[in-house]
């Protein structure tokens, strides 16, 4: 189907135009010009995506696959990949999410960025991101996917550092890119391993649908004593942890909040960070071959989930809270994947996309209204001032908290169920996380929208330095945001409300449309199908429990932050305690990474730089007898090397030259001496 490429290309064209001529358009046509161009491209590709989806649905479930082979890309040796896009149920879901939510966020951005002079750049980059993300999702082989994979990294770099004049932002951007690169490095190795192992079996391919059929051959293959499948999947999963902010590579995501809020919503909540989830489920056939890896994934997922949740509990920055909640929700998705419940993982991905995007945009609306105030302790009482924002935000919060019948309830419960079936321990942790989620999300709601306005309130030492400069702002009247911003909020809220109904489990009389839609994809993946009958009671039980836990979390939050009835005694004690500080300082993971990895690398590089300048070069200069070498030696640090290598070589030439000149005394008698000595030497040589 030719049209597929346009899903990808339209945003690219938009990006190209906006990034090259954007500034002119903005000057001549006006801000609306660039916005319309950008959003228009996004919407257009959304439209095409929808038609594609409809086409797909028209087909037989087994034959649901649309291909668009753009051009042969690389055909070298046994490697043969082409720039081709494929639309199958899985990628269709992703494409709809990306383009759909993407379009909404484009529209929203026009409202949110209304003061920014470089609007053209912003829309250009957003479009570019859509392009990359869609390439990632639609690519029909690993290499094309990798193009998108790194492409989104670039865009996220550029958008996090969008306000590049502040070094904090650019630093965050670089951090994000570098941590992603670490993942990409593993991803690359995994790909190569996979490719060559298959090539060894006579099936050199990187095309997904071919992989699905041939990876089975890897059974029993081993490298360095480790099953190839396990090794490859582990490497690929490290890649996923980089993109999807899982332990150990999650640290970049919270910092990434430095970017404009729409970016956080689009890239760091709804789409890019789910790339890892998509990749794993895209390669589920391979992963299913490696139970060990799946267990690792499940464990990492749960750990991340609860770990991030505990951090989120104590953050003051409205976006930081959401960021950590994203990390934790992604953890959920990986739990699902780890349990082999790919459909469940993707389902949660979708629902999460809706409510988390909505939450971020809501937060953005708040931040925008309160003049870029991000500290929740200076908010409050916005319920009345910005009702639309409040209600949408509330809906999404309930959704993420997993209250029925909202989206989060169905997706999360399906995961918890699968987790329980896999290993009750996972379920337990997941449950606690759910409780925490409910707690910190409602904590946020209460702090931001209820109570009195605390705008400009003075803060404790933990406060971000913004206090002073934002002091003046709170006199401004806070009011509801413009339509461009609220409309997407409403739509997303509806999504958060209804998206879950796609996957109402049979237990609740639904006919899990979503899983069914994906079943042709995951059919081959050894997905545990249809819950056994005696599982039904269990399923109900779990639902009830999780709902109760969620309610408990909410109540606690209510008591602490609204009624403040618990605040005084219990929490102040915890607040001074180690757990609080640990959580507040994000368990000092950043500091750890900085102290070890980064510092180490820099030190090494500095050492080598010195080595190169002083020693390698020094030796050379010595050999060249350049005076400079000698001076380096004079000031040189390493006496051993100095005396050992360079001085010697230096003398070898420079010295000899001088010595020979000294021999030329100018005294004729001496010359004759030398002559005589020469003769004798020759004669002796001859005699010997």
């Amino acid at each position: 189907m030719q049209a597929l490429r346009w899903i990808v290309l339209l945003p690219l064209i938009g990006a190209a135009i906006n990034l090259t001529l954007g500034s002119r358009i903005q000057r001549s046509v006006g801000r609306a010009g660039v916005a319309v161009l950008g959003s228009g491209m996004a919407l257009a590709s959304f439209a095409i995506a929808v038609t594609g989806f409809l086409k797909l649905r028209a087909l037989e479930p087994e034959s649901r696959l649309l291909l668009d082979n753009v051009l042969p890309w690389l055909h070298v040796g046994s490697l043969n990949v082409s720039l081709a896009f494929q639309l199958d149920p899985l990628s269709a879901v992703m494409v709809l999410v990306v383009t759909g939510i993407g379009s909404l966020i484009h529209i929203y951005s026009f409202g949110y960025m209304d003061e920014d002079p470089a609007l053209w750049r912003f829309f250009g980059l957003l479009n570019l991101f859509l392009f990359a993300m869609l390439t990632l999702v639609l690519g029909d082989n690993i290499l094309v996917m990798f193009v998108g994979w790194e492409g989104v990294g670039l865009c996220s770099w550029a958008l996090i550092g969008f306000w590049y004049k502040d070094h904090a932002n650019t630093a965050a951007a670089n951090k994000a890119f570098l941590f992603n690169r670490i993942g990409d490095f593993a991803f690359l190795c995994g790909t190569m391993l996979l490719f060559w192992s298959l090539a060894g079996l006579g099936h050199a391919t990187l095309v997904f649908r071919e992989l699905d059929t041939v990876v089975g051959l890897l059974e029993g293959q081993a490298l360095w004593g480790v099953p190839v499948a396990t090794l490859a999947t582990l490497l690929l999963f490290i890649g996923a942890t980089g993109k999807s902010a899982q332990i150990p590579l999650y640290v970049w995501l919270p910092d990434a909040m430095a970017g404009p809020t729409p970016v956080s919503a689009l890239i760091h909540a709804a789409t890019m960070v789910t790339a890892g989830v998509y990749m794993v489920s895209r390669l589920h056939c391979l992963f299913s071959l490696a139970p060990f890896t799946l267990n690792v994934i499940a464990v990492v997922g749960t750990t991340t989930a609860i770990f991030a949740a505990t951090i989120a509990v104590t953050q003051h920055d409205i976006k930081k809270v959401l960021a950590y909640s994203t990390v934790s929700q992604l953890g959920y998705m990986f739990v699902a994947l780890g349990c082999g419940a790919y459909a469940a993982g993707v389902f949660h991905l979708v629902t999460h996309a809706f409510f988390k995007a909505c939450l971020f945009l809501g937060a953005g609306s708040v931040i925008h209204a309160s003049h870029h105030e991000q500290d929740m302790r200076r908010m409050g009482g916005l319920r009345t001032k910005m009702p639309l924002t409040f209600w949408t935000f509330l809906v999404s919060t309930m959704a993420i908290a997993g209250l029925p019948p909202l989206a989060g309830f169905f997706s999360k419960d399906e995961i918890l169920l699968k987790a329980y079936q896999h290993d009750p321990l996972l379920w337990g942790v997941g449950l606690v996380t759910a409780g925490l989620t409910a707690f910190y999300m409602f904590r946020q709601v209460f702090l931001v929208f209820f109570g009195e306005s605390r705008a400009g309130a003075s803060l404790d030492p933990h406060a971000s330095a913004h206090a002073a400069d934002h002091h003046g702002h709170h006199v401004h009247e806070v009011h509801e945001s413009s339509a461009a911003m609220t409309l997407p909020l409403v739509l997303l809220a509806c999504g958060a409300l209804t998206a879950g109904w796609l996957g109402i489990p049979s237990a609740l009389g639904g006919n899990n449309l979503f899983t069914e839609w994906l079943s042709p994809v995951f059919a081959s993946g050894g997905e545990h199908h249809g819950v056994e009958h005696e599982g039904l009671e269990l399923e109900y039980a779990l639902m009830v429990v999780s709902v109760l836990v969620a309610l408990a979390g909410i109540t606690l939050a209510y008591l602490v932050y609204l009624r403040k009835s618990l605040n005084a005694d219990t929490f102040s004690r915890i607040a001074r305690g180690v757990p609080y500080r640990l959580s507040f300082n994000k368990y000092y993971v950043d500091e750890f990474y900085y102290g070890t990895v980064l510092a180490g690398t820099l030190a090494l590089s500095r050492a080598l730089g010195w080595f190169d300048k002083v020693i390698i070069d020094g030796v050379v200069n010595g050999a060249a007898a350049s005076v400079r070498a000698v001076s380096i030696l004079g000031g040189g640090i390493d006496k051993v090397v100095v005396d050992g290598l360079v001085n010697f070589t230096a003398r070898a030439f420079n010295g000899v030259g001088g010595a020979l000149r000294l021999a030329q005394t100018g005294n004729i008698n001496a010359y004759v001496y030398v002559l005589l000595i020469g003769v004798t030497a020759v004669l002796l040589a001859g005699a010997w």
């Binding site: 990034l19 500034s23 051009l71 042969p72 890309w73 690389l74 055909h75 070298v76 040796g77 046994s78 490697l79 720039l83 290499l143 990798f146 193009v147 994979w149 790194e150 492409g151 670039l154 770099w157 550029a158 550092g161 590049y164 004049k165 502040d166 070094h167 650019t170 630093a171 670089n174 890119f177 570098l178 690169r181 670490i182 990409d184 490095f185 690359l188 190795c189 190569m192 391993l193 490719f195 060559w196 090539a199 490298l223 690398t601 820099l602 090494l604 590089s605 500095r606 080598l608 730089g609 010195w610 190169d612 390698i616 070069d617 050379v620 060249a624 350049s626 400079r628």
Partner: protein, 500 residues
Amino acid sequence: MEHFLTLMTFLPLLGALVVLVLPRGNANLVRWTALVSTLPGLLLGVWLFQHFDRSVATMQLVERHAWIPAFNVQYLMGVDGLSVSMLLLTVLLSPLCILASWGIEKGVKGYFALFLLLETGMIGVFSALDFFLFFIFWELMLLPMYFLIGIWGGPRREYAAIKFFLYTLIGSVLMLIAMLALYFANTPHTFDMMVLMEKAPTYSHGFQAWAWIALFIGFAIKIPAFPFHTWLPDAHVEAPTAISVILAGVLLKMGTYGILRVCFPVFPLATQEYAFWALGVLGCWNIVYGALCAMAQKDMKSLVAYSSISHMGYVMLGMATLTPEGMNGAVLQMFNHGTVTAMLFLLVGVIYDRAHHRNIDGFGGLASVMPIYTGFVTIAFFAALGLPGFSAFISEVLVLLGTWQYSKPLAIIAASAVVLTAGYMLWMLQRVWLGPVNEKYAGLPDMNWREIVTLVPLTVIVIVLGVYPHAVLDLFGPTLVALGDTVSSAVPAAAQAVLR
């Protein structure tokens, strides 16, 4: 086109002579003449690109004339896929460099005459098939290079120039010895490379061993491979922009080109034995070492110089593998590095022309001062750190793929460099272009049309080759496959296995 290569090679020389006889006063006339005299080469290059037969590995456009019968030296020119790609690179970069040298004020005539002479030397090296002729062209480049750095270079230009000169000369004298030894290795004595290749199986093992090493050192100095690399940072830092471009864009490639052109086909046995250590391991070391050193640099140019060392490591590594993926990747990397590094040096030149220093910590926030410039910089940097969609990604992936099959540890080490590369590139980007505006340079003008013209073609190529690499890959595909087979077939497969 009987004398195609002759034309291509000597038209610039003709231009040089014209430049020399022009009146002293009129600098612009000189500049335009120089520019014009590089264009025919470019056009011929385009023709070559269209009409080159991509399906065969044999030499094309061969010209053979007796030159010195008494010494059996021939004027023998010809191109195969390998040389064509390098020729294209040369004729492409030369006009751009002339444009980039527009600002030269001192000794204009001399400068451009030398530059054109240099171009003749480069084209000659890539199209000579008689070893003696090859050597003459090879040496011919030393003189102009020495003076271009030494007269028009930076403060420590004299030191850098002589260092470059002596370094390279050591390499060439070793090459000379090996060349003459080869000459006598056959009867009738000959310098004809194609004959030398045919007779490859007849050379004794010992002879192959030492001759390979002698030639390798000669070429490794040009690459430059650790530990023969220290001339490069100095030369780059001191050389004027355009010369840095040529140096990194073309001259470095001659090292690897020479290895592929001579060492591989003529000494397949020795290649099999030494490739792993001399090319594979050393190349890998180049990659990581160069990247780490780059991170420590304070001067933009020396950072880029070290990044060149790092990127040339991929070429060595790719060649070592002898796999189609690896070798194609290597040669493609030669081409891509040529274009990407050219961009980097041109861009550094832009800021140097305005601020007259290149100290990385001396800037900041240029993005808001020079947006267009920053746009190009971003593209160039991400291209350099091998971002997919840009040309360098293709070549690096191919090299890594080939290497993985050849030796997994090397592949992993080499792949790890993607992180380091991103590290130093982004760090530099952040320190120079991002962040708060440095008031000292708030008034800098953005790029002018000339600078943009020099960069646009390269940008286009970098992107196009990222999307459709076969535009270039097809040129040398067959050649390299044939070459790889020649070498691999030189020793039994069992022995190869041992080398892993």
